[in-house]
């Protein structure tokens, strides 16, 4: 079965990749399986300087989901390029760098740095990280700000840019159209929904950062709705994510409008989640009478 998909800058052998922040820089999961099996790898967010992130607790479990407020902990873009990218480049897979920041300048700095490497195939522009106090989220909820940062990042680099949208907005299609207009090569959606859990004995938020981002199976219906909605209104490709756990989930995202998908929280439950999905995808496509991944995309376009 042909699982290939071609997206700007990415010739993927299959449409499955780990989602940013849920796979580190691949090292730990490379002890479970050969990362060359993946369609691509989206790295953990990179900022200009090293960030230590938020205090702990940083995660909390919820019904069919989890909250996280890691706070973009990362060693800074230069050390990522020096230590992580070369190791990942050994694998036969594409590398997508997740670009974060709290100011336009920081986004541009990180983008330029990745632009100078040879091994990064595309950028995922993270304008939607809900767990940092400055910047981040405004870029993700205001269409004008989103346009601005997208245009700036496009200008700073030759790499295709996938803008990662926040679901915490009234009108997701408006955000998608704004970044498409600003030159985005693709979209990545959805990031986490802002949520909270209280610690009953104290009545205070369980997560040190108070709020956290909700991910996992709980949010899948929201992701599907947003991707479906956006697919009607923009034509650039979408990397879909939000609660994908099985090959059937992946298929549902493709049917809804995604051209490839990322798997986040599911890796924590099952470190083999990505490869299990890749293995199950052919039989799942056959079961629902598709002949290839591209066939799902083509037949969907006919419907929409």
């Amino acid at each position: 079965m042909n699982l290939e998909v071609k997206l700007p800058g990415l010739a993927l052998k299959n449409p499955i990749m780990p989602a940013s922040g849920c796979f580190g820089f691949g090292k730990e999961y490379s002890e479970f399986y050969d990362l060359s099996r993946l369609g691509a790898i989206i790295m953990k967010a990179a900022t200009q300087f090293e960030r230590f992130g938020n205090p702990t607790p940083r995660v909390a479990e919820t019904s069919s989901g989890m909250l996280n407020a890691i706070g973009l902990q990362n060693p800074g873009v230069e050390r990522i390029i020096a230590n992580e990218v070369p190791r990942l480049a050994e694998y036969d897979t594409s590398i997508i760098a997740n670009v974060a920041g709290s100011s336009l300048e920081e986004y541009i700095f990180v983008t330029k740095a990745f632009n100078e490497t040879n091994d990064v195939n595309a950028l995922e522009l993270n304008i939607s990280c809900p767990n940092v106090k400055e910047g981040g989220i405004q870029f993700g909820t205001d269409p004008e700000m989103a346009k601005k940062v997208t245009a700036a990042v496009k200008e700073a680099s030759n790499l295709p840019v996938y803008v990662k949208l926040s679901p915490n907005v009234t009108n997701i299609a408006e955000m998608a159209k704004a970044v498409e207009e600003a030159g985005a090569d693709g979209l990545s959606m959805i990031n986490t929904l802002t949520g909270m859990k209280l610690h009953l004995p104290t009545g205070k938020p369980l997560i040190a950062n108070q709020t956290g981002g909700l991910s996992g199976a709980a949010i899948k219906p929201i992701a599907i709705r947003m991707i479906y909605e956006v697919r009607q209104q923009v034509s650039i490709p979408i990397i879909g994510m939000g609660g994908i756990t099985t090959a059937e989930d992946a298929l549902e995202f493709l049917q809804a409008g995604a051209d490839a998908v990322a798997v986040g929280t599911a890796n924590f439950q099952n470190p083999f989640a990505c490869v299990d999905i890749i293995d199950a995808l052919p039989e799942t496509l056959i079961k629902y009478q598709y002949t290839s991944v591209q066939d799902v995309i083509d037949r969907r376009s006919a419907v929409v």
């Binding site: 230590f52 702990t56 940083r58 996280n68 902990q73």
Partner: protein, 251 residues
């Protein structure tokens, strides 16, 4: 390559109040495990795995024993497992207690609090094979919660402390430190307030502590379980730990 293990449940027993001992069959893991390591258990219906320390292994039998306290939905569900069922586990995870620097013939203080006692027992067993003199101080909330006292007594000079004095000494584990005599090194596992008291009290002695934090991945990828270190950096409890030198971390 690392694996996911389907471990067969051999027995499930309540050995003290809210405290379950579960014996699992998995020869491969039983051979690899060092004291202080943990299993990361999938409980159907829950998003995140549960980290539970390994309390003992029997390489001959190919078994692993874990002990856990029923605190929430996950542990409640695990406590209801029946022999014959299987548990999906990752592990052994984490670094474990390194005992290479414990000299033959030395004297070691072991301090366990509540559900922190099991990994200390595993360590005690391993140390006892090494010809070191062991002193164990075990703290529990009250009499009903006490377990493994006899097992410890076979291999260590053992003090039991309960917070309410309903059994053994009354108060905190640190209260009996004056009685235990000299020792070269200590190892401790238990609730954070206890570890804080222990490391403060014993700040001039070499020591290792085993820590807890809420986890996402349990393998070092997600940065959920970090801990600040004295050199202004951080460590991941799931993969750099859960055991740290008492001097290295900020509690």
């Amino acid at each position: 390559m690392k694996k996911k293990h389907e471990m067969k449940v051999l027995s499930v027993e309540t050995i003290a109040k809210e405290t379950i001992e579960m014996k699992l069959y998995q020869p491969e893991v039983s051979k690899q495990t060092v004291p202080g390591q943990f299993l990361h258990l999938l409980v159907p219906g829950f998003t995140l795995r549960r980290p539970i320390s390994i309390a003992k292994v029997d390489k001959q039998e190919g078994t692993i024993t874990i002990l856990f306290k029923v605190v929430g939905g996950g542990t409640k569900s695990l406590a209801a497992y029946q022999p014959g069922m299987t548990v999906d586990a990752l592990g052994p995870n984490g670094n474990g207690f390194s005992i290479d620097d414990v000299p033959e013939g030395g004297r070691v203080l072991l301090i366990g609090g509540g559900i922190g006692v099991p990994p200390i027992y595993h360590l005690a067993k391993r140390l006892s094979e090494k010809n070191v003199e062991l002193v164990a101080v075990l703290g529990f909330q009250s009499k009903d919660y006490v377990f493994y006292e006899d097992a410890f007594k076979e291999i260590a000079e053992t003090y039991v402390v309960t917070n309410d004095g309903s059994y053994g000494h009354q108060g905190f584990v640190t209260h009996v430190f004056p009685e235990v005599g000299a020792f070269d090194q200590y190892f401790s596992c238990g609730p954070l307030p206890m570890l804080r008291a222990v490391t403060t009290e014993l700040k001039d002695t070499a020591g290792k502590v085993s820590l807890e934090e809420r986890m996402g991945c349990g393998v070092g990828a997600c940065m959920a379980c970090v801990l600040p270190t004295v050199d202004n950096s951080y460590k991941k409890i799931c993969s750099d730990g859960p055991v740290f030198s008492a001097q290295e971390v900020i509690l």
